[in-house]
Amino acid sequence: MSTVLINGIGSALGAQVARQLSAHDGVTVLGLARCEPSAPVGCAEWLVAHLSGLQLIELLRAEHVDTLIHLDFAGADAPAEGREAAVQQNVLGTMEVLGACIAAGVSHVVVRSHVGIYGANPKNPIMLSESRPAARGGLSGLLRDLAEVEHFLAEFTVRHPEISVAILRFAPIVGGWSPLLEYFAQPSPRTLIGFDPSMQLLHIDDAANAIVLAALSPCAGAFNLAADDAVCISQAIRLSGQQPVPTIEALIGLSASMGDRTKLRPWPFDISFLRHSCVVDTRRAKDVLGWSPTHSAVDSIHSARKNGRAIDDPATSEAAMRAFLSRKG
């Protein structure tokens, strides 16, 4: 019998984790969100609130929570409101949550992270393993916050051996909102001329599976999670139905600093990720968690492209109608 609290149940990922956990017997699922969940959450009970550290301790103690899943990061599942608020929520928020967990006697914590924290550097080997430390510079936005969180966690787990912290480093998640998908789908996304690094992606189902596995097993340490195949950035953009526009770096930098936000949507990552690949090794997750991806990167882009888009292809329409008509026979 265990009680799991999902911090950040409001996002698509949080809701899916709640649904999958609800299916397990003997698991009580609780949720905490800053906004109402956007998707069904199974039989989870949830509250919408922004709790301070002390209030969080009270909640954890009263509900006898023994496992906490921390997914609540600004800029990961919805556009961040502002840089200051994002740092407050991402870095200080995580520190508060972990402090509360220690005080309330929570034994197991699962924190989400991102493979981008390794940075994109030609001196990084291609299949990065978890032992590689997070980059100390050259990151901005959400990735910078996550790298800071990782540095904090590295210290924290040494000081508090009584709590087991699993860090899940996800490749960019496909499904729901993400800055990368925004970038892929915008008209003529800019890439860096003469470079086309490979990248990994992760379907939201596989991400949710990994969180559930990590929450239900007493594992600790970092895990890389990504689909088995890789795609080139230009290939990913083409699969999303756009054509990449190769641009020289100075122009990208200029348009970003000119602040033409209406035209240029939020940049998904640092420019260095357009130049060098950041590909990780997922062996540890497979061996320790028993996790294995069910969707390839190419499939997940295809499904993301179909999502919420009107069908204009006559062949697909025909097939759909035939399938519908034959449902009774």
Binding site: K123, F195, P197, V231, R238
Partner: protein, 455 residues
């Protein structure tokens, strides 16, 4: 002496062209004598193997037959007689039915014939014949990848052309038409690429792109540098191995040619891709970086080498690194220092055998007379070569000289008995590195002594 060779070859030919109907035509006295040759002789196969990508025994052995029986000086008419006799039935070029089975292979035979003819010519005609043979090979390579429908189209285009007569203007017209047609065929391919429908591995390798550059590389391999590969049987058909080669020639053509040697001439697995490790500085260069990644080359970091070996890949390393490619012409064929033995550590960690590879001929493709170091530093290059042609002739100066090469794959050095702990023992690592270096230097010296001219 020549008599005995003839017997063996004749016996071989009779053995391999198994259906007796085909062999019926050759001279009777030869078949009777052939009974003496009991076992297939390896020498014949060794010569024949070089040109053969697919096992078309009859054509191959027939080719050897002609070459051995007829010394170079023989009159061409007599030569033709022998050839027809050996082959027993078909006249090669315009026989349209022949195209149905393996168009690439029948073209391969035409190519051999043209090359054979050319080798008996003098001067310009010989050069032209070689180029013609190269072009036919290029078409053949491409046709291996075509669908049946496309092959039919090409056959139609070539129908009026006698391919073996390269001195005829209609030959060049035909070849031109086929090449143009191929450009059109590529449009579909490009359209599919533009939709993103292709596959890359995590290192960025794109097998389709390798297929695209393969004919060009094969042209450089066979026609431009006329490379002879020795000891390809030492390259395993399955499982991991680390190829360690000397590095030379300003631009890393030698790596590309080692890859091509395996893909063109490997007796069992011509589809094996050699993953060369390059200096990670190349990954910072626009256009170069994605091209290297697409053709399966990987930044030279020890972790990458171990990882690839653990995936049972063929990995090729150049321990000399920049000191090798940026070598001056006067220092040619003197191996530079072999790094700090990092390649041996990687091989020991992955328990992969080390295969020393000696490349001779690449040193002369860009004779680097002077290294403009201060300019290189200014531009952020590792070196800036001044050759008799570069930078004076601009882009033309980057065309490599057509020297004649040889690539020798030495017998593998096993690392099994050392155990993975040995990777942390500097003495073992350095002595193994030295052993590999000595093997390569000795092989280079042997090949240099055999060589009569650099062209």
């Amino acid at each position: 002496m020549s008599e005995s060779i003839e017997i063996e070859v004749g016996g071989q030919s009779a053995d391999l062209t198994a259906p007796p109907a085909e062999v019926a035509a050759p001279k009777p006295q030869r078949t009777s004598r052939a009974k003496q040759a009991t076992e297939p002789t390896l020498e014949v196969e060794a010569t024949a193997k070089r040109r053969a990508r697919k096992p078309r025994a009859a054509a191959r052995v027939e080719d050897v037959d002609v070459r051995v029986v007829q010394p170079r000086a023989a009159a061409p008419t007599e030569d033709a007689d022998v050839r027809v006799a050996g082959k027993a039935a078909p006249k090669v070029p315009p026989a349209a039915a022949y195209w149905d089975v393996h168009p690439g292979d029948s073209l391969h035979e035409v190519e051999l014939e043209v090359r054979n003819n050319a080798s008996q010519q003098q001067g310009q005609a010989a050069v032209m014949g070689n180029v013609a043979a190269g072009l036919i090979a290029l078409i053949g390579e491409n046709m291996r990848r075509m669908t049946e429908e496309q092959v039919g189209k090409v056959r139609e285009l070539l129908s009026g052309t006698d391919l073996s007569d390269y001195l005829d203007s209609s030959f060049w017209q035909g070849v031109g038409m086929v090449l143009q047609y191929q450009v059109q065929e590529q449009v579909d391919f490009v359209k599919r690429r533009l939709r993103g429908e292709y596959h890359v591995d995590p290192y960025g390798m794109d097998y389709e792109m390798i297929e695209v550059v393969r004919p060009f590389m094969a042209f450089m391999y066979r026609t431009w540098w006329r490379i002879t590969s020795h000891g390809l049987e030492h390259v395993p058909a399955e499982g991991r191995a680390m190829l360690v080669s000397n590095h030379s020639g300003v631009l890393p053509w030698d790596g590309a040619m080692i890859t091509t040697a395996v893909s063109a001439d490997h007796p069992v697995r011509p589809d094996r891709v050699v993953r060369s490790l390059h200096l990670h500085w190349f990954s910072t260069l626009p256009f170069v970086a994605p091209a290297l990644a697409a053709t399966g080359q990987v930044p030279g970091l020890p972790e990458n080498a171990v990882r690839l070996l653990e995936n049972d890949e063929l990995v090729c390393v150049f321990p000399e690194g920049l000191k090798g490619v940026g070598k001056l012409y006067k220092d040619r064929y003197k191996l530079a220092r072999f790094g700090r033995g990092g390649f041996v550590q990687a091989a020991l960690r992955a328990r992969a055998p080390i295969i020393p590879v000696a490349v001779v001929g690449a040193e002369e493709i860009y004779p680097m007379l002077y290294n403009a170091e201060s300019f290189a530093k200014l531009m952020g290059f590792p070196y800036f070569p001044l050759t008799p042609f570069f930078p004076w002739l601009g882009l033309l100066g980057t065309i490599p000289l057509p020297t004649r090469w040889s690539i020798t794959f030495c017998p593998p050095i096993s690392t099994e008995e050392y155990g993975p702990r040995a990777a942390d023992d500097p003495l073992t690592v350095l002595s193994l590195a030295e052993r590999v270096r000595d093997t390569i230097q000795a092989t280079i010296d042997t090949r240099l002594a055999e060589r009569t001219s650099i062209f």
